[in-house]
């Protein structure tokens, strides 16, 4: 099976006078499952479409297996794309939809039949070959769209928000299936999504985009644990951000919040920065003052089943704290005075 690496160098792209991509640099390993994650308008779909050859011609280079494809027509790229709307052709049955790319490549008829059957087998819909697209459910259409794309053995598989039209339970099932398929075929895959959970659960590495710029690239854990900036910290999961400054005294560093509270930082943490990022699960709520604790007041409380989520006013911000719940455990009432104990080992200073 084809395995192609992708290298994007200093890519700029504009729609008229609006610059949508502002110097993107990126390297994707052969066989990697890579995600573009970002809010709408971040340029993630534009970047994907530029790789496929759609939209305005960008400036810069897009290398697929060391071949620069910028300016090359989509049909000359051997890049497979699955669209958000699936884009199955309503006037062709499933077999003809899936066989289209092979027919365009002048594959012999007997081979087309064989390959289409194999592709349908791969997505588990071998018995639907003669159906028309309007007789299929959303999930089935999605799989047919996938089969139609992988049957031509593209060098790269591009997925543009492929799960967004499915309902919640199907989405989880489909993303596992996508991952299984990707591993089985070993295809270099790029997955565009605005849903961090989808990106976290499927991708080997991901790029977080905002305003046409890649904010950070790394594995889901790296990005969650060590965000490079506040945008990434906020976009991946819930982040509590306290403003203040770092005060270093030799080896000993402390973070001084706006409200004058001190949190001691572990050795080797950033020497400068005006924000500290604390995840909700890295804070414990207590009625006693302790080391690295901040006084606060409970504003709101939500029972989520496995945990209780508190919203606490402390350190000059509203802080989300998750406490695991087990039966018989005491709750803190709304309005009560509490102390938040921060686990600064997992904190990030930015």
């Amino acid at each position: 099976m084809n395995k192609a690496g992708i290298k994007i160098e200093n890519l700029h792209l504009s729609f008229g006078s609006t610059e949508v991509l502002k110097g993107v640099n990126l390297e994707i390993e052969p066989g990697e499952f890579f995600a573009f994650l970002g809010p709408s308008g971040s340029g993630k779909s534009t970047l994907l479409r530029a790789i496929a050859g759609f939209g305005p011609t960008p400036k810069g280079r897009i290398l697929i297996s060391d071949r620069d494809v910028v300016g090359l027509d989509p049909w000359k790229r051997n890049v497979g794309m699955v669209f958000q709307s699936y884009a199955l052709w309503p006037h062709m049955n499933v077999r003809n939809n899936v066989g289209f790319g092979l027919r365009e490549r002048k594959t012999p008829t007997d081979q087309i039949r064989q390959k289409v059957d194999a592709a349908l087998e791969l997505v588990g819909l071998a018995d639907l070959a003669e159906r028309m697209p309007n007789q299929l459910s959303g999930g089935q259409q999605q799989r047919i769209a996938l089969a139609r794309t992988v049957v031509v053995e593209p060098e790269v598989l591009l997925l543009d928000e492929p799960l967004s039209n499915l309902d919640a339970s199907l989405r989880i099932q489909m993303r596992r299936e996508l991952l299984r398929l990707q591993r089985q075929l070993g295809l270099t895959t790029i997955f565009v999504t605005h849903d961090q959970e989808e990106a976290n659960t499927t991708s080997d590495r991901m790029a977080v985009l905002d305003a046409g710029i890649i904010q950070q690239i790394g594995s889901p854990q790296q990005l969650y644990d060590t965000p490079r900036n506040l945008f990434v910290a906020n976009f991946l999961g819930t982040a509590n951000i306290l403003e203040g400054k770092v005060e270093a005294d030799g080896d000993d560093a402390q973070f001084l919040t706006k409200t004058g509270d001190r949190l001691s930082l572990p050795k080797g943490s950033a020497a400068a920065g005006s924000n500290i990022v604390l995840r909700p699960q890295n804070i414990t709520i207590s009625d006693k003052k302790g080391r690295n604790s901040l006084p606060g007041k409970v504003l709101h409380r939500e029972f989520l089943g496995s945990q209780i989520r508190y919203l606490v006013n402390a350190g000059g911000a509203e802080i989300v704290v998750d406490q695991s719940h087990s039966s018989g455990k005491d709750w803190f009432e709304t309005g009560s005075a509490v102390h938040l104990v921060a686990n600064t080992k997992s904190a990030v200073v930015l």
Partner: protein, 280 residues
């Protein structure tokens, strides 16, 4: 939508209004129908007697008219949908400079009365001879088909534009991704998906071109080249021909009605196919 039930008085009023308007609209048709089946109809409210003779006379004398009509309207409607599809594609799918102008130009035919268009053709092509035929272009039968084509192009263009708007861009991009060139994509995806709309445009153009008189009346140079509408006009010149003329008129009404109905059915069927194919 919820339907309301009417009180007897309201019902009477509603039916009364609808029937009154229908009578106003349909009275020419009713008159034409009576005339086509009547023997003599002069001073009485209804014809003196009824006969099928008019239809027989009409059929014997207007085979040429009907065949000409099918030929002219067929050529006009075929060219209309071909040009209409091309213009629709250029306007909606390309960035060519002046594409909007092309749209306006094609639609401009609406602003020109048929008679004016006919005179224009006469003056312009009067002194230009058709190669190999030797006749002036202005009196060659093909010019009638051309005039009809130009007259009906705006309608065909609207139908083709609507049809192309229904084809989502992703459907084309999916084909291109799988190795189909632009030309192959148009051939295999765009045109087949536009078929319903194109066919509806063809039927509408054909049916309305078939009964068009205004431009034709200026361009018909011999009775052998005349289409149906011109035939009605010829029949009506003599008192004895009125019955047969009316019969031909009924044929024209049926052609348009059948065309309109066919186009409606095609559009509805097409809509059904596409809407159920959409993702929710």
């Amino acid at each position: 939508m919820a339907k309301r039930s009417l009180k007897p008085g309201e019902k009477l009023l509603a039916y009364g209004t609808v029937i009154f308007i229908l009578l106003l609209v349909l009275s020419p048709h009713i008159g034409l129908l009576l005339l086509s089946f009547g023997t003599i109809w002069s001073f009485s409210p209804l014809p003196d007697g009824y006969t099928l003779q008019n239809y027989i006379v009409m059929w014997q004398n207007s085979k040429t008219f009907i065949l000409n009509t099918i030929l002219y309207a067929g050529i006009a409607a075929t060219l209309d949908v071909i040009i209409g599809t091309a213009i629709a594609y250029i306007v909606l799918r390309t960035g060519i400079f002046g594409r909007k102008g092309l749209d306006y130009l094609a639609t401009a035919a609406l602003a020109v009365p048929g008679v004016v268009l006919g005179i224009g053709y006469l003056r312009t092509f009067h002194s230009i001879d058709v190669p190999f035929v030797g006749e002036p272009l202005a009196s060659w039968w093909v010019i009638i088909a051309m005039a009809l084509m130009i007259r009906r192009l705006p309608y065909a263009l609207r139908a083709c534009t609507a049809a192309l708007q229904q084809v989502s861009l992703a459907l084309e991009e999916a084909a291109e991704c799988l190795g189909a060139t632009k030309r192959r994509t148009i051939q295999k995806i765009v045109v087949p998906l536009m078929t319903g709309g194109i066919l509806a445009g063809f039927v509408t153009s054909f049916a309305t071109a078939a009964v068009e008189l205004s431009a034709t009346i200026m361009l018909v140079s011999s009775n052998n080249d005349a289409p149906l509408a011109y035939g009605i006009y010829l029949f009506m010149q003599t008192p004895s021909g009125r019955g047969a003329g009316a019969a031909l008129g009924i044929v024209a009404v049926i052609v348009v009605a059948a065309g309109t109905l066919a186009s409606q059915i095609i559009i509805e069927r097409d809509k059904k196919l596409k809407s159920s194919g959409e993702v929710h």
